[in-house]
Subunit: 176 residues, 4 copies
């Protein structure tokens, strides 16, 4: 009950959310889940397999909107738990500075990022996960790729909406 | 006219905007205008003098929302021009990574940042300005402070909504 | 044995090191050890109590030089283990971007940072530690401070060489 | 003369420098010169054409060591002026946080960066230039590439020592 009450103001009816999406940029977070070794070097990057709105199977990063009265880090944890399960043990970075900001436009070509549903401004973070990931809800599978495998054009092409570019930006930021 | 047409989708009636502000986090930008010397060292920080909604005179950073279908950097430039005038020659940083993200909550005390009107998630940037600043519209005055003067508790206390904290974060980031 | 062989090239006699310190900037790392809660929010900052070269007891961050042919992250881990013990479980950030660069000059006043022995250019990182810290070697004690306690002018004044400034920069970067 | 006096402490004989390079990591800076439009969007990246130590013509970023008692930003400006000429008007970023740290190892393969002469730890910055660039000294030519041209595998392959990777990291950081 308390969960419902607390989140109340952050929940919109589908119609209200659709209306907002046509008028305002929506605050989003993107998380790149990674596995690290004892030295903190990234050894693997996790990509979800999802069924998109168009029925197509696509790879995806962990991504979602920030609710009204929700902290950015709470939104990150909520979406990580929703997609990777409750035992993933994500280590959300202690500082709020994202490694980049991805601007998803409803019109393709304005930026490398595209979302036909909305204009989303997304804060992007790399998040080490230390536990067991069990994909949840609309995520069919989580696959771990080495940084080299993740950079493969075939893998990148399976990411929709420009998330292939965002993944490359994350790998560049990580220096791997 | 072209301004009206171009911005059309980004404009909401006051009622619609008020409704959205009670339901969704709003995307904002904060800019800390600075003067730099030939080596790029910050020599002065610019603070606006504004009349707030409550009729009180307060100091403020350059701050405002990002419109629908507007790039973050375009929003930064729009608010800088609105507050500092058309001859300020702001040098918006080439990379989208902000130095921090300020989360303004309508409830005081959740974060250091507070905005009674809305939940705003604000990308914060330091922006060198090279031209002449002439405050516009509801900005009464722009005052340049040395970094040491800006850190003065008396000056910081004149900044509302936690922007004193944001200014200290900017100075810390600048290493001055 | 392999440790000695591998580190061989990175070890200089005291005389050679002293000579180098008068001629070249030395690559350093600074680490701010922190404790975080389940959401990744920093709840405590760890400061060492050390006996300085002058026999004075001072607080200090974890700090030390990078050896020849040593990775920056390996140097961070080596100094964290040396000061906090082998069970501290430090989580070195996966990306090489430091939150700032502290330039310690042998002449006071050039920057906020001062080291009478040398010119050191130090890459500064915030490092969450998840295990048990047991100060080692010349570190007498490790004390955990809440962010508010750490900001206390009395505590900051006990940090030598400008590390009080670096601690404030870390807290500003963390948004706490 | 004043140049010689001021830099005195930072100058080592060739023999001393060679000895130091075999024993200590050397502090370096890398600068990626860029041209930006009125919105601060990067429109071109500048690459030098140099004759390397081996007599080969190679493309290169602006790069060089930090001297004893020299600020990082002064070293950046010195190397930019040395390579691009005195009228380039570089805008060194106001904050010391680099976009990444490149670790050049004398042994290939430890990191993506390699320098047979030394172990260099290099702070990397993107630097907008607003003036006229006239290559100097051992730089034969400066060529401006659009971001897309710069990403071309043929161009990247002409950069030695892993600077192709560093250029890609800069482009990823810039979001272009």
């Amino acid at each position: 009950m308390s969960e419902v009450v607390r989140s109340d103001a952050g929940w919109l009816s589908r119609e209200e959310m659709d209306a907002a999406r046509e008028r305002l940029p929506i605050v989003y977070v993107d998380a790149v889940p990674v596995q690290v070794d004892a030295q903190g070097v990234v050894t693997a990057v996790g990509l979800l397999l999802r069924i998109g709105g168009d029925g197509q199977v696509k790879r995806a990063l962990v991504s979602g909107r920030v609710r009204y009265h929700e902290r950015v880090r709470s939104a990150l944890l909520r979406h990580l738990e929703k997609d990777l399960g409750p035992l993933a043990l994500p280590r959300v970075p202690p500082a709020p500075q994202p490694f980049t900001v991805a601007e998803y436009f409803p019109t393709p070509g304005v930026t490398p990022f595209h979302d036909p549903r909305q204009h989303a401004v997304s804060l992007a973070y790399v998040v080490p996960v230390e536990g067991d990931c069990v994909p949840q809800q609309d995520a069919l599978e989580l696959t771990w790729f080495t940084p080299d495998e993740a950079r493969d054009p075939g893998v990148l092409a399976e990411l929709a909406g420009g998330q292939g570019t965002l993944l490359l930006q994350a790998l560049a930021h990580l220096g791997v």
